[in-house]
């Protein structure tokens, strides 16, 4: 069976969930060979093996943290040369897409971004994408070179599938471009203790109706009662009520959780683009005519300042 390269997204050796989802998808089209780079690369092996990696190619070097994107492209190109895979899979983060694009260009390959599903096909892997603010679903494949495909978080289940996970150290020669863009400073984001927005099973969002930064505590309380991530509409972010890193929509994050709870969000096309593929959608909004209600499985027309605290209390009571 052909091998499939999976680029490992990890933080100092802790593998992020979307990479484990990639391993699930990779097993549908071949045998996963993981590529882990940078500080802590060696610590990823056990988790990757547990989820199906037959091999883990590792390489640690300071360049991966000190320079933007290109060192990782150099490493994936080296891995491609070593393995001759049937496809290369990368998570659809901002950086993941940039890495994948440059790799595809070097390989003379096509690239598909933001796949939400992947299956084996007669002429190579077929990727499903959700386009035009999720109003259309397309199926595409790469027609030239080794398919390079980026996959959105929450597109597949994480599955245990123990495999050998044989560690090999990857030999990488950095290109002239590798040191072109220097990372001169890095401020880690303060942890909120809540799940990562794009990875969360449940997202609770607030919009214009929340009417003030201080009122977001109501949204956060609901999120915490469900173990959910907190999102915000562009209106709420532009008003300065909540950080841009939490923005859901066309110019923010695109999320696809099991449950999306929209509070005080009208549901403009730009917002729908970022949440329309959620499995179950519920909304609370004062305006019965708000377009968000066209999407919901359950909606409450009412004042979120009455409905949301009551919901939070009820959830706490039921959870005991």
């Amino acid at each position: 069976m052909a091998e499939v390269l999976v680029y490992v997204d990890h933080v100092d050796g802790a593998v992020r969930k979307p990479t484990l989802e990639l391993l699930t998808l990779a097993r549908r089209v071949g045998e996963p060979v993981a590529v882990a780079l940078g500080n802590g690369a060696g610590d990823t092996v056990a988790t990757l093996a547990e989820h199906g990696a037959i091999k883990v190619l590792t390489h640690e070097a300071a360049e991966y943290a000190d320079y933007l994107v290109v060192p990782k492209v150099d490493a994936l190109q080296a891995a491609h040369q070593a393995v001759s895979p049937a496809a290369v899979l990368v998570s659809s983060s901002a950086e993941g897409k940039e890495i994948a694009a440059r790799l595809a260009l070097r390989l003379g390959s096509g690239i598909i971004t933001d796949a939400v599903d992947l299956e084996a096909g007669d002429e190579g892997p077929v990727a499903t994408q959700s386009v035009f603010a999720a109003s259309y679903t397309t199926k595409s494949r790469v027609s030239k070179g080794t398919p390079v495909i980026t996959v959105k978080p929450n597109s597949a289940a994480v599955e245990a599938a123990p495999a050998a996970g044989a560690v090999e150290s990857l030999s990488v020669t950095f290109s002239e471009q590798a040191t072109g863009t220097k990372v001169t400073g890095r401020t880690p984001r303060e942890s909120t203790g809540r799940p990562e927005l794009t990875e969360a099973a449940i997202v609770v969002s607030g919009g214009r109706g929340v009417n003030g930064a201080e009122n977001f505590s109501i949204i956060e309380a609901l999120a915490d009662s469900l173990g959910a991530a907190v999102g915000a509409s562009r209106a709420a972010v532009d008003a300065g009520w909540y950080p841009h890193t939490n923005q859901v929509g066309q110019t923010g994050k695109s999320v696809s959780p099991q449950l999306y709870i929209a509070n005080g969000i009208s549901g403009a096309i730009q917002h729908r683009a970022g949440m329309q593929t959620s499995k179950t959608i519920v909304a609370v909004n004062k305006d019965a005519e708000a377009p968000i209600f066209e999407l919901v499985d359950f909606g409450v027309v009412g004042d979120l300042f009455d409905v949301v605290p009551q919901l939070t209390e009820e959830i706490k009571t039921r959870k005991g």
Binding site: V70, L105, T138, S143, K182, H244, D297, Q310, E313
Partner: protein, 262 residues
Amino acid sequence: MSLRIVVTVKYVPDATGDRHFADDLTVDRDDVDGLLSELDEYAVEQALQIAENSDDDVEVTVLTVGPEDAKDALRKALSMGADKAIHVEDDDLHGTDAIGTSLVLAKAVEKAGYDLVVSGMASTDGTMGVVPALLAERLGVPQVTLLSEVNVEDGKVTGRRDGDAASEQLEASLPAVVSVTDQSGEARYPSFKGIMAAKKKPVESWDLSDLDIDEDEVGLENAYTTVESASERPARTAGTIVKDEGEGGKQLAEFLASQKFI
């Protein structure tokens, strides 16, 4: 000293319109009004601010690849304050994918001459967000992308890239390719004076032969990816809507429990 900035912009179908696919599975551009991609307005804005804050002699050129109507996007950027425009138009470009588009842009940028390329973070139709990275790879210059803050000084570009895990400060020497996010600063509205002045600004038209690109390097037939099918997402089945009469929160909790979320 002079600084030549090229801003790449895209003419896209209006996202609030009824966007759909044509028979050949390319984006239908006839039935929906087009406009300058909103996310590219931020690129134009940052280029103009760099020009305004510079002691150098700065020239801002806007560049687009697209059909005849794409001139509208150039005209908008010119009315915001760009100095001149280049329109790459050729029937053989229909259906060109991101890889092919990056080739055309790279050749055009090189022909125009540049010290800095400024792009938006993504288009509002394709939304891939890969063209700036592809452009940097093709041009062999540093990629300084997804900046929420950008500065150009002494032959260097610096900026802040807000990632999921951390906020990074980046630095690279010119020439370079920059992309900016919608957090980089509100784009200006064209003034009446700007709109009038734009009518007199030069718009050059280039085709593939001007760029030494063969027709078999671009277009739908030569794309690196194939769209096999496109289907309209079925409308979500109508859900239950209740009016809050004092029990709305409890009713919602009941629904969530029935779906096993609680």
